[in-house]
Symmetry: C2
Amino acid sequence: MHMLKKCRIFAVIFGEEQSMNQKFEHFEPMWELSPIWATLTQEERERAAQEVKIVHYEKNEVIHNDGDESAFVWMLLRGKVRIYKEGIGQRQQIIRLLKPYDIFGYRACTVNEPYNSSASAFEDCTVYRMDRAFFNALIQENGALCYQVMLMMAKDLAFSEIQTVNLTQKHIRGRLAESLLTLVKNYGYEEDGNTLAMLLPREDLANMSNMTTSNAIRTLSQFAQEGLLSIDGRHIKILDEPALEKISRLG
Amino acid sequence: MHMLKKCRIFAVIFGEEQSMNQKFEHFEPMWELSPIWATLTQEERERAAQEVKIVHYEKNEVIHNDGDESAFVWMLLRGKVRIYKEGIGQRQQIIRLLKPYDIFGYRACTVNEPYNSSASAFEDCTVYRMDRAFFNALIQENGALCYQVMLMMAKDLAFSEIQTVNLTQKHIRGRLAESLLTLVKNYGYEEDGNTLAMLLPREDLANMSNMTTSNAIRTLSQFAQEGLLSIDGRHIKILDEPALEKISRLG
DNA sequence: GCAAAAATGTGTTAAAAAACATATTTTATT
DNA sequence: AATAAAATATGTTTTTTAACACATTTTTGC
């Protein structure tokens, strides 16, 4: 589907001004960006400053593939990422969507197994990236970090089990309403207070909701006709969230 | 569906002969039954011997309910347990099936959240049961245990994500074949080498495979007609595992 | 800015699976 | 052992959703 392009790797910059003539954004050190890494000791932070790299991915670039030997753990800094699995006949199921400071790729690394899903960039992204060996060394030596990672996994597991039932038992309208509400919860609204702060193609909405693209388009139009939301290209204004919640709940 | 009956609680017996006049089975201490608990220190083992109770559940008894405040972590000793979620219109989705020495209820306890699924006994069961507070104290003080629990969660998470795609994208035949193979993997065969060592009603097979009971019955009959398996009531003989794998793989 | 490609929108048809109906067999209860 | 209840089996109908077709609009790459 999307081609794998060479990603650009830069040395990590923890607050320092860099001397190269390239233009960089500035990012806080990772232990300030997530409670997971706040558990690192001073010594571990120093090692992290050496080990962790900043990497950029272009829009639609594949970050890792289902079945690839796990090699890295990432924390998203800028942009949005989709985690998905290819199912039968190239239909892809989006498992979850990431926003800045979300961590991904970590499950496969903890068990030294291949990734069991793929990740690709919705838009141009910047991440912190660390080697599997470094991550594993940290979780094995630092109990507080291991505990935090376990809690993160517990959240992901709960979401996945709920998702299984949502996707298998709800009807099309319920599944789409559910996905829209998940997007609201994840990315929130623009300043106007009701436009989804996430522009995504209907195909991705379909892949989140376990339906064909045609049905995502059709059902979204229906919702618009019913006054639950309004559509302006990929800009979706949610007009009646309680009604969407009801549709989602009743299947 | 199934009534909640009062469960019978006995003091834990770690290898000692018990003096009461009731008939007990003998179980090894839990640190000999699972690598998870092998991480316990001597001091923790002594506390566990005090804290952990043996509990019995009758066939079809509910062990915990989706939404209940989490209170216990269990390790199955004898019998089989189904973990499931009620979906739309009382249709239940079996999330996974447990066999002796499997641990359950632990995810909700780690995050102090309500259970997000229900558990009930397929047949008369015996378990080791510990309080949430005790379990949480252990994983917070014992890094090796926390690491083991995290690994277990990583396995459950991988299974759940694979399951989501299986259940949403495969057709009925693929889903049923998949479930049968999961049963084989989990419970194995009787001594004859091809009779599934798990007698379960068609309704449960349907609930594992995201289909109606009628369709589970019908599709199973079809498989029998095609010579992939043979049916004798609830005894299922798998005759052509590679063919089932092919059906499962192709959806 | 223009051409090509991709995405959106909408109607129609076909396939899959649920819902329903009902008979038969098995299991549980008294 | 007799009866009731539950589970199994199977055919028919209806609903849901995918598949297909094609027009229109939007985006992308040069």
